[in-house]
Amino acid sequence: MHLDPFELHRPTTVDETVDLAGRLAPDVDYLAGGTDLLPNYKMHLNVRANLIALEDVSELRGISLDRVGAMVRLADLEADAAFAASFPGVVAAAREVATPLVRASGTLGGNLLVETRCFFFNQSLPWRESLGYCLKADGDRCHVVPQKVKCYATFSGDIAPALAVVDAEVEVAGPSGRRRLPVSRLYDPVGDGIHRHKLAAGELIVAVHFPPESRGLKATYRKLRIRPSFDFPELGVAVAARQDAGGRISRLALSLGGLETYPRRFDDLTEPMVGTVPTPATVRALADEVQKRVRPVHNTFLAPEYRKKMAGVFVRRATAEVLGVPESSP
């Protein structure tokens, strides 16, 4: 399995980077930690002839309570005690990514844009060739849901759900300047499934910004997988909340990754709980409703029925933990 040769570009500023991307488009990818992109290149998945290394772009670095650069390595993020104290859920999610070795290279921006995954996509060229390829790379059909012309590859980042529930925003630079959008709107819930995010061609995540009012939210991240490290999520549940002294909820958000093509928030279920004092019954009702709604497909190791059921269990446990509600088993 060889890596095809590519041209490596090493810009040092965001403007230079975006310019370069514009000139090289569409035969170009950004290279951050490389832990997702390069294995995919080895499998000849959507290979580009030009890679723009983001390593030397200094603006993409730095950790503060307001802002974390897109090129911050996950290992550095999880080691930052001050950040962890303010955003425990984000750090909890970062710690669950892959292995220590991968996190030493892998970056925050890279994890946000990690390629969606599927048993029929993450395979070598000969493997895919023998099956006639798939929608997401080189082919025209989906082997998971054959009657549809949509890609069902699973969103497999751990950190996006944890960022979404603290209302973090991504700062994006592109040919038409800079913009900010909430992490929860970085992803496309209604698209073809093939293109996983709503960044325009040449756009680049510069940093993630954290609103001051989200500091110190109680938060957690729970990840389902068959092994306690290395594996991508089969389900990831992020919850963040604030309560007054009497336990009344003033803020509550929930986001699920690892199940569908994008990380999904459930604001219409959590917002009605604001102003209430949670009970095991209300937490259970929330979990049951989430479980009812999610639609995993059979494209990861664990069966979709099981992942769906676990969505209920994990939402209940994570929410109960954050809200300090005693857990009730079914």
Binding site: P5, F119, S124, P126, R227, F301, L302, E305, M310, V313
Partner: protein, 776 residues
């Protein structure tokens, strides 16, 4: 934590000795096949079949051959001679001839200046296939099929091998039984997943010789296969085994790529290297067979076993490989550690259009053992007998013959039971831990070296060891045994140093090289410690006798009055009179120069005279009793094996550190098969050919392991030792399965036991209205 270590009459044997090659391995200095670079070396890549079953109408290699940088393109017809690890089932070719039989079967081989050029050349090869029906399910392969995978299948079916055996009267035993149990087990295939991918370098030289370096655990059989297929006499072929990064059975067949690589070197006159990527390792497989077995056990009111009635349907994949042995083993390896007076077995191994299955650590003894042990656990519960008591009542005593004429010599199985029971706190835990927590007992039994070498040449030993010592006092050891990480080099050195009384650093175990290493059959069937150990001891004793005779001349005392001490030979009862080892050596060399010594091992005759009687016969057997303790999250089904108490009888543990390492590694591998490892197929297509999606347990999943080495000396083993490389795996799986039952009241007969199966199992128990430990 290790058990209390017994006092040893030996200086080195029985202590804890780190691997002699360890410093080189951990600093990256050890030389593996891919570390070797020959001048002018080409890189080979293989074109693999995209179809599970197809006829090759034509192959057009003209474009590939004309590409710049491409030195040779080879297709199958040039070397059509069939080969295989067993002489009786040759059905493989180096490169496919006429037909492909699984996705990944080798269709063509390219040698080029680099990997990318070779890969691009593969893409330029045009193959016209006539697609044939795929045979993914072994169940349908037992009937006559259209277009069987091989012409040698039984009567137009895909059955590669059928074994039928009956000893005693099983029907009568069942008719008179007090209780019976039936377990229908389903076992997904698992694979070795060794660290080092397959790698081979071949170099044909103008002197008419061929040298092959290969990551193999059986250099001698590779040597034979190369000779047979390439048509070159063995003496013109030189096989070298560099360090090998794990084998577990997966490098014990001579493999097609090894021969194709050699053929490419002959074709080009240049050295050719091939290194597999991980997907190729997965599809080359030769792992543990997916198996369905149907096991019935009959017992009397005291729980004494009356009979086994076993049927096994074994998914062979595309080749025979070790399959004939597998088919026997899935029956006959049930013949210990208990006395079984009546035994009936039908085993069928069926070719399928999938990657070939073969030998994997505890070959043939693992799946059948799981079914038996969970069945016995069930019987014990129904008869209200403690699982330990039930097993102890059935234990084979030492020095007995089984009903199928296995000669059992040493067994410390009962000691294993006692140690595991006591150390695990069994009597205060079993059925007494809270819901979700449990303990389980599983036992094991395995051969310590197959009595029948695969290529049996009458009157030739299964292992020969040569020693050479020159004036520097260093001792070179030559033997074709294959250290694949299990510590056999270290054991060779330890045995030689023990017998000669010298420091370990005097002993230099030489790299396996067929030009200088005397034949050993290789690392399979857990034979090395026993057979090589005996040969090494004999060689060292022969050398010792030469030194003692020389010391006798120097001291004036007769040899029988002398004894070997640490780096010296002294007069018994006169410790003040002695010569050093080097003085004795130099005296011995006065007439002859460098000293030579040889030792060999041939196993004694054994086995009945019925068909297949030799299968499973061994000069000794290992025994095991393991207790596992589990903790289940009863809502998610995610569980952790917290601790394993591993009581194991390997006779005397010759290198305790190595034995403990083998036990820990075996438990890790056994738990992998139990908890999540599986070759996942959709039809004939392997879905998870990667270490990311093939779920080897992570370090966090590894239980605490307490090794209890309680074996008594084996009468024929070297220094009383027996195998510890494969047997330690077997008991792991049923111990975990029975512990899950104790925790949640669910029997699992379908491996691996993933969390979703645990959840489903608990739901089914609930639906049946059965409570467990008071929980619905």
């Amino acid at each position: 934590m290790a058990a209390k270590e017994p006092t040893s009459p030996y200086r080195l044997i029985g202590t804890r000795i780190p691997y002699i090659e360890g410093p080189l391995k951990v600093t990256g200095r050890a030389e593996y096949t891919d570390d070797i670079k020959r001048p002018g070396q080409l890189i080979a890549r293989l074109l693999r079949s995209p179809w599970p079953h197809a006829r090759i109408r034509s192959i057009d290699v003209s474009k590939a051959r004309s590409m710049p940088g491409v030195a040779a393109v080879l297709t199958g017809e040039k070397y059509p001679t069939q080969f295989g690890v067993l002489p009786i089932t040759h059905d493989e070719t180096a490169i496919a001839v006429g037909k492909v039989r699984y996705i990944g079967d080798i269709v063509a081989a390219v040698a080029a200046v680099d990997e990318r050029t070779a890969d691009l050349a593969l893409q330029a090869i045009v193959v016209d296939y006539e697609v044939l029906p795929e045979h993914a399910d072994p169940r349908t392969g037992t009937e006559k099929v259209v277009e069987p995978i091989h012409t040698r299948g039984l009567n137009g079916t895909n059955i590669q091998k059928e074994v039928v055996q009956h000893f005693g009267d099983v029907d009568a035993a069942f008719a008179g039984a007090h209780a019976t149990v039936r377990v229908r087990g389903t076992y997904a295939g698992v694979t070795h997943a060794f660290t080092e991918p397959m790698a081979t370098i071949a170099e044909a030289t103008p002197d008419g010789r061929l040298t092959v370096w290969s990551a193999t655990q059986v250099p001698h059989y590779l040597h034979r296969a190369l000779s047979e297929v390439l048509g070159i006499p063995m003496h013109r072929i030189r096989v070298i085994k560099p360090e090998v990064g794990g084998g577990f059975g997966g490098k014990s067949d001579p493999l097609p790529h090894e021969i194709a690589c050699a053929a490419l070197s002959i074709e080009t006159g240049r050295p050719v290297k091939i290194l597999f990527d991980r997907e190729e390792v997965f599809v080359t497989n030769h792992g543990r067979h997916p198996t369905q077995n149907d096991v019935r056990i009959a017992v009397d009111p005291e729980g004494k076993i009356l009979a086994y009635d076993i049927d096994a349907l074994i998914d062979g994949g595309a080749w025979s490989s070790f399959g004939t042995v597998t088919t026997y083993y899935n029956g006959v390896l049930s013949m210990g550690p208990y006395r079984v007076p009546n035994f009936r077995y039908r085993g069928r191994r069926v070719y399928t259009s999938k990657p070939p299955n073969g030998a994997m650590r505890a070959h043939g003894g693992t799946n059948i053992r799981y079914s038996i042990e969970v069945g016995l656990d069930d019987l014990a519960e129904r008869l209200h007998i403690d699982p330990f008591d039930l097993r102890e009542r059935n234990a084979l005593p030492p020095h007995t013959m089984t009903v199928n004429q296995f000669r059992i010599t040493s067994t410390s199985f009962v000691k294993c039971l006692h140690a595991a029971r006591e150390r695990s706190g069994w009597d205060s835990k079993f059925r007494q831990l809270p819901y979700g927590k449990g303990v389980g007992l599983g036992c094991g039994f395995y051969i310590s070296g197959s009595n029948s070498p695969i290529h049996f040449t009458p009157k030739m030993p299964q292992c020969t060891v040569h020693l050479k010592v020159d004036m520097d006092g260093g001792i070179s050891v030559h033997c074709m045994q294959a250290d694949i990480g299990q510590g056999s080099n270290t054991l060779l050195a330890v045995i030689v140093a023990e017998v000669l009384g010298v420091d370990l650093d005097r002993v230099h175990v030489q790299r396996v090289d067929s030009d200088v290493s005397p034949v050993d059959m290789g690392s399979y069937s857990s034979r090395v410690t026993f057979m090589m150990g005996n040969a090494a001891r004999q060689a060292a004793e022969s050398l010792r006798d030469q030194l003692v005779r020389a010391a006798a001349r120097v001291t004036g005392y007769p040899p029988e009055k002398l004894e070997v001490g640490h780096e010296k030979i002294s007069v018994r009862h006169r410790p003040d009179v002695s010569v050093t080892y080097v003085e004795a050596l130099h005296a011995a060399m006065e007439r002859s120069g460098a000293l030579l010594a040889t030792g060999a091992y041939t196993s004694p005759p054994m086995g009945g005279d019925f068909k297949g009687a030799r299968a499973g016969t061994a000069p000794a057997y290992s025994f095991a009793a393991y207790v596992a303790q589990v903790d289940v999250d009863v809502e998610t089904g995610i569980y952790r094996v917290e601790k394993v108490w591993a009581a194991f009888d390997c006779g005397r543990a010759l290198n305790r550190l190595a034995v403990e390492g083998q036990i820990e590694g075996s438990i890790h591998m056994g738990l992998g098969q139990f908890m999540g490892e599986a070759m996942m197929y959709r039809g004939a297509r392997l879905m998870n050919p990667s270490l990311l999606e093939y779920k080897i347990p992570m370090p966090q999943q590894m239980p605490d392991v307490e090794c209890l080495l309680v074996g008594d000396d084996d009468p024929e083993g070297p220094f009383g030792g027996k195998e510890a490389g494969e047997g330690p795996l077997i008991a792991t799986l049923p111990a975990a399965g029975n512990a899950l039952y104790d925790a949640i009241g669910v029997r699992f007969h379908d491996l691996p036991v993933t969390p979703e199966k645990v959840v489903r199992g608990m739901e089914q128990r609930r639906q049946s209205g059965r409570t467990w430990k008071g929980v619905a």
